[in-house]
Amino acid sequence: MNFVPKMNRRSFVVGTAAVGGGLALGFDLPLGPKAAHAADAPEIGAWVVIKPDDTVVVRIVRSEMGQGTLTGLAQLVAEELECDWSKVTTEYPTPGQSVARKRIWGAFSTGGSRGIRESHEYVRKGGAAARMMLIRAAANEWKVEPGQCKAAASVITGPAGQRTTYGKVAEAAAKLEVPTDIKLKDPKDWKIAGKPLKRLDTKDKTTGTTVYGIDVKVAGMLNASIKQCPVFGGKVKSFDAAKVAGMPGVKKVVQVGDNAMAVVADTFWHAKTALDALPIVWDTVGNEKHNSASIAKFLETGLDPEQPAFIGNQNGDVKGAIKAAAKTVEAVYSYPYQNHAPMEPMNATALYTADKCEVWCGTQDGEAALAATISASGLPAAKCEVYKVMLGGGFGRRGRVDYVTQAVNIAKQMPGTPVKMLWTREEDMQHCFYHPITMAKMVGAFDKDNNLTGLHMRISGQSILATVFPARMDNGKDPVTFQGLNPSGETAFGYSVPNLLIDHAMRNPHVPAGFWRGVNVNHNAIYVECFMDELAHSIGVDALEFRRKLMTKHPKNLAVLEAVAKKIGWGEKKPAGHFLGLSHMMAFGSYVAGAAEISVVGDKIKVHKLIGATDPGQAVNPAQIERQVAGSFVYGLSALFYGECTVKDGYIEQTNFDTYPSLRIAEMPPVESICMPSGHAVWGGVGEPTILVAAPAVMNAYFQATGKRIRSFPLKNHKLQIA
């Protein structure tokens, strides 16, 4: 019997409807009874749809992957809209609609902690514009001036006691011109934004009804399992499809691009079973000669200060300072490849016909997914569409769209049949865009009075942009390398040293690198913050006191550092065997600091407490910020203790969570979060920054406890465990 996938009756419905003068595509997702179906309700400006029953549908284009952006962005729109929060729902406009409407909603890209920090102004204006239109519609009806009317909680009141609701005037409001002269509220007057509100997407996540990419069902859909050449850069040399053609459920064996094979079958399990049996010969193009040791050697060559390097931050004459120093301190650190390992492996569903190509997927960048669809299908933009669904984690991995290209490539070989392509965990582990591998040589120079006169930080290692966005490089230099180390801006270095040089000798192994939650601050913070402790220790000065002297021109960095130091009880008497460590850095526009309290028994490190402070400028949802801080520490500690992908014969050795472990609840330390927004004009992100403080704070405490300085990671390689 041929298996026919069981269809969910609430299947995807794609239609068109003229709404508010613009084109809106209705995308009917099975999100349950509360789901927003906005296509038949009036659109008030681009960001808000209001239904007759007063339901407010806020359009969100950034992707929800757990970080809470759906809720945070909706709070900002609702704040200016003056609507009833209990009636707020959200929907994703599609990338295709964005093209049709000339990117009216701005960028879809969801990474770099920029969801709120880069779109807060225009989404708030979208909410405010809708409020003004609704008020004007009511005023027109009452024949009064809009200035005589007030709006609160979705109710508009007029000068003579008139009263109406948003739902009642929405139809009329939708016909009005969208205002452009908009004054936003002062955050101190916020009632919805800035409050620790509950997330909007929780209930469905507790009942199993949320639809992730892996759950997408399209009528008549088949399933595909894919295997890429294990060695990066390698290609398919030959395969023997006849060997698996008769296996249960198998429909077709297809080559995907030049580097992968897939089996399409009725079910994923049949596809995977057949793929496992498919004989494939790979051409590993010489990359099989690379391994972790050869990559380490390659990076070591870049530590030589005489090797050419791109300069990220420089003042004074560091060579002169080192030459003239009464004392120098040196250390070499290194940081490994790591996989994002989101819980949901990569997947996408595609339906190709000669006339249209549609893709359903979780993606951190709907526009990039659409571009991949256009490119892989060969169809014009107007004939392509991407429908975003919930992401089972992203952490930067789903900002890449390799899996979208593959799904379309497979679907194109099965015209008219929707195909869902799902990676196995093994495929996911071995085909990531990995946290880049780097080393750093740190040299500090002191004068005879123990003043730090010079600091040279030479980074050697991989550029992310060289893999993923070579066009964004600056004459060969990768500016992203210097996150947290720049002279100024949203990732500025938090210390003043009279003679400073931070430079990068680029060494790009064959393993692809990518943006990984926290990106380059993860290792940069370890290098800088652990070395600062080394410098302090070398002259017998308290680690906090040493930093304070170098931070007089960096009051916001110092404020978060002082906050965690105070909270952890720095300088106070601690229980016997307990030791403290500190760290801080600026990242993604936020100032962050961490403090750890640990004890060490044998090879076990017990983290008694981990404190994170963050100053994002404005805090849109303090409860969700607290959760991001705690979650980022789990991610950061998993990386510190376990995270390493090693290379053997050109491929990644780790294949699953047994060889690439992740922190579990028993290992989770109590986390305290300090949210201290200081109101700076540029809002900072919260999804990533605090991840960077976890590792150096714990390692600095470990040195206090043991006198041992560990400079390579993860700690499992030093036989250290988290207790």
Binding site: M1, R199, T206, R425, G631
Partner: protein, 149 residues
Amino acid sequence: MIHLTINGKGVDIDVDPSTPLLWAIRENVGLTGTKYGCGIAQCGACTVHIDGAATRSCSFPVSAAVGKQITTIEGLAQNGVLTKVQQAWIEHDVPQCGYCQSGMIMAVTELLKSKPKPTDADIDNAITNICRCGTFQQVRAAIHAAANA
């Protein structure tokens, strides 16, 4: 044909007896709340109850589930009323991406059945599911809240 009892209902599916229960549930029965995370019983995203015992369905052949009561995340709520664990999850705003939470909730539900008032140590021993978003602090708080509800 293999006959299963899932969430109190009988269902006949045409699968090889060696098919992992996870894929039978997701693809042949069509209940997708149970998630695939690793396929080797490491992460717990696929946790279901088999005769009340929390079981990682990715490494459990469908043939071994015949004649047993299988409960998935979709079968917890009765007549639309969420269980106290699900309610505690909502009250404590536990999920982030949410992908691991079906399995987490199934594991916790069994824990509270066997140990109605678990200590932190009990939680550490029983709940070994992986959550890459790192919701553990909220998970722990919600478990205690559900135990005291």
